[in-house]
Amino acid sequence: MTSELSQAVEAAQAGDEEAFRFLYRSLQPGLLRYLTALVGADAEDVASETWLQVARDLPNFSGGEFRAWAVTIARNRAMDHLRRQRRRPALPVPVQELSELAGDADTAERAGESIGTEAALAMIASLPPREAEAVLLRAVVGLDAETAGRVLGRRAGAVRTAAHRGLRRLALLLGERAEEEAATAATPAPPPRPRTGPQAPHAEPVDG
């Protein structure tokens, strides 16, 4: 995977458009999900800003982990975005918007999973920001702890700790969710509708 990526990076630097498309397709889904946790509904805008900068600066990219480089750009763009937003009236927490998107329960059922992608992301986004970022970079973007630490400006050990805490918290949330579902299991209505209510107390502003 990584060597494939770096080959594609070299080809894209030489002007190969297909290689750039490959980079986009490999990275964009994880990037978008990560950005959704950071900036909510504006994630697509921030992602396209990110790719603009990636396309522009790619000739100057001097090796190393391409994903780490691109995710760092994305994170900086997201932070800029949040700074701009802070000057305007406050917006609702991203989790609210995410829960509206969480209508892919049928997808989850087809895939044999217990939970849909949007619902899962909403649940991760409801974690404290450091934990959410660590979990997303590790599990969704697929960076290892060292690389994620470079993106976040922290040591790998700190990233591991944050991710582990996040996972523990998620396990607790899932336990609560299962209990609630068991309570309402008698009704034949579509059951896997995700419940974001109980997580609201955990939500905090994303950039601390």
Binding site: R33, L52, A55
Partner: protein, 274 residues
């Protein structure tokens, strides 16, 4: 590693392994199939959905634009409004000079003679040599505008092979000649007529956006080229419909906005502004 218990549920799972396994295609084998945390992570890292890749055309357009800006050595855009566009051109120009100078020269030599005029991109290239070649001016004169201004007309003898360039682009030391230089650049500017294929890609990316995003997109450097080509942000819609009617009418018929007029002969009335 050191954390063996997770969430007090009693399932002995290595969290690092959990995180690593989230993106793997096969179901995680280490823990029971009913572990909801595994399901959650796998769902969060599920394969990409179609709409998550919706920005692909736009990203590719940005890639092309970045490369294009670098290829013909970055002539100054006449209508450049945004500083960032300048930065894009500059960075790409530096990169192209550093990596592809030789290739660039070769490409220019091989180009078919579509235009009799000298390549517009390096303004100082074709223009600067002319006074020196004809008048035998020492190099230092070019540096002082006052002397250059007074001497250039007297020393340069017409009919020494510089006839066309003389009228089109006067010697650089004369400051009042800046306007004609820019005009020449506009006419033969990079991609103003030749690169409709790339334009159509940009146009598609543009037309696929929603109203709100279109307005925003036109302020980004990637679409700056469209604004320049159309002669203003308000003309982009009409321009793009024109371009696509020529290059890809089927796409336009399928995706184009309802305002797109049907054109049998490939020409679209450019009066349909958004």
């Amino acid at each position: 590693m050191f954390l063996r218990r997770l969430g007090g549920s009693g399932a002995p799972t290595d969290p690092e392994q959990l995180l690593d396994a989230a993106r793997e295609a096969r179901p995680a084998t280490s823990s029971g199939p009913s572990d909801p945390l595994v399901g959650l992570l796998r769902a969060a890292a599920a394969p990409p959905r179609e709409r998550e890749l919706a920005g692909e055309q736009e990203a590719l357009a940005a890639f092309r634009a970045a490369r294009q800006a670098g290829a013909p050595a970055a002539a100054p855009r006449p209508r450049r409004r945004r500083f960032t566009a300048g930065v894009v051109v500059w960075i790409a120009g530096v990169a192209a000079t550093a990596t592809a100078g030789a290739a660039l020269a070769a490409v220019r030599l091989d180009q078919p003679d579509e235009r009799p005029a000298p390549p517009p991109a390096p303004i100082t290239g074709p223009v600067a040599p002319s006074p020196r070649a004809t008048g035998g001016q020492p190099d230092r004169d070019g540096a002082s505008p006052s002397r250059g201004e007074s001497e250039a007309p007297s020393v340069v003898t017409p009919g020494a092979g510089v006839g066309p360039t003389d009228g089109l682009a006067p010697t650089p030391p004369a400051p009042e000649s800046s306007a004609p230089v820019v005009d020449a650049t506009v006419q033969a500017g990079p991609g103003n007529s030749d690169n409709t294929a790339d334009r159509s890609g940009l146009c598609k990316a543009y037309l696929q956006k929603s109203e709100r995003q279109r307005e925003k997109a036109l302020r980004t450097p990637a679409f700056n080229e469209l604004v320049v080509a159309a002669g203003g942000a308000e003309n982009v819609m009409a321009y793009c419909q024109g371009v696509l009617a020529e290059t890809d009418p089927q796409w336009l018929a399928k995706h184009g906005p309802s305002t797109a007029p049907e054109s049998a002969d490939g020409q679209v009335a450019s009066t349909t502004d958004s």
